[in-house]
Amino acid sequence: MSLALETPAAAERSVMEPVAARLASVAKETHDTFTLNLEPPEGDPVAVFQPGQFSMLYVPGVGELPISISGDPERREQLTYTIRSVGQVTYQLVTRRPGDTIGIRGPFGTAWPMKESRGKSVLIVAGGIGLAPLRPAIYHILRHRGDYNRLVVLYGGRSPRDLLYKKEFAAWGMLPDTQALATVDYGGVSWRGYVGVVTTLFRHVRMQPKETVAMLCGPEIMMRYASRELETRGIPPEQIHLSMERNMKCAVGFCGHCQMGPYFVCKDGPVFPYTSMKPYMDLYEL
């Protein structure tokens, strides 16, 4: 079943109205994760985003979900999303066919601190699907390489078959002043890389902690332990940034579903400085 979506002009549109975008391609990343490329109307502001922001993707007649944008922020003709099929809406998204229509609202939320990180080294720490919201930041750094010092990408996954963007990740590791290390929780005999949680990779990183900005995205437990460990290793807490995930519904702070302490993750986040999130990450009641 396909329901038609009409797209009002950007100036007349409310934040709750989706834009109709054409699905250009679907690529299988892993056994349960797919990357979708969508083509929004030419010149529509829905395609202008900063690394770390998300869109609300709407499957007509099925439902709407917040999905981080995982593509290059400077490629405005397409919006890229990497989606793990874990429920009804995500399943419907990843099983759409090229030419189908998907609704988009956004972009929403705060961005990775790309401007504030200029002149410093950037340490990216990703877990699982968390590499997707960080990939636009990596693209940005690679496009503006002279603005940043060293780039280190640490990536933890469940098993080798769950790792995203394998070829691209290997290519990042070959670039000058760039280190890309992956680890998995469970490795088989054919896996020749690291096995262990992502924090075990920290010892292989050579950086000046005071001159480093860390950007983390992954399961909250992983980010909690990783942030503490980075602080122990000398990175000032205000230079550690996290992308949080909560039950986001409206994306504009109306509904309150994604509240975390005094913050709405959709509007005040998803990217927060660790100093803002630290008091709430340890609360068992939240």
């Binding site: 349960d32 793990r84 874990v86 877990g127 699982g128 933890g156 996954g157 469940r158 769950d162 680890t183 929780d185 469970y186 490795g187 088989g188 005999v189 896996w191 020749r192 890389g193 690291y194 096995v195 262990g196 949680v197 924090t199 075990t200 010892r203 292989h204 992954g218 399961p219 437990i221 992983m222 332990y225």
Partner: protein
């Protein structure tokens, strides 16, 4: 003074960062350099614990045999230690250690290091404290792995 190549490698190894020179000297008397080839087995699960290693380069997989498969539980590489159980009495090797990349390491006879720990308590305290940090780190990592935080359930136990 630690004039030997072994002594210099010991001094630079993260496991021994900040250790007083007197104690590094003592360790250097017990250490010798070893190399292992890719896929070589350093020890097997259940082997009597004999050697303790400080890895200088390379990567080692700690593996467990499960029915029908071999699972890598953790990897240890340069700057890390391997074989802490050799410093404990009546503890056999807990895993199989297989080289994923060629390995260069400093090896110590575990029984001799343990005897020195008994003899010189300052030395023993320092070694045991560092071993405890390693064991605690591995316990914490194992807890995180058991949570299976990357699964679709995202670490929720239902």
């Amino acid at each position: 003074m630690i004039p030997t190549a072994v002594g210099a490698a010991l001094k630079d190894h993260p496991f021994l960062e900040g250790v007083p020179e007197r104690l590094l000297d003592k360790l250097s008397q017990l250490a010798f350099e070893v190399t292992f080839e890719e896929d070589q087995i350093i020890f097997r699960e259940g082997d009597p614990s004999s050697f303790f290693y400080l890895i200088l380069s390379g990567l080692v997989a700690l593996e467990l045999a499960a029915p029908g498969r071999v699972v890598t539980i953790q990897t240890v590489g340069d700057g890390e230690e391997l074989g802490w159980s050799s410093l404990m009495s009546r503890v056999d090797k807990q895993f199989r250690a297989r080289c994923m990349k060629p390995v260069k390491a400093l090896a110590f006879d575990g029984a001799r290091v343990a005897a020195e720990c008994e003899e010189d308590h300052e030395f023993g305290y320092l070694i045991m404290r560092r071993i405890l940090v390693t064991v605690a780190e591995r316990l914490r990592s194992t807890r995180m792995q058991v949570l299976d935080v990357y699964s679709a359930r995202g670490g929720q136990i239902k």
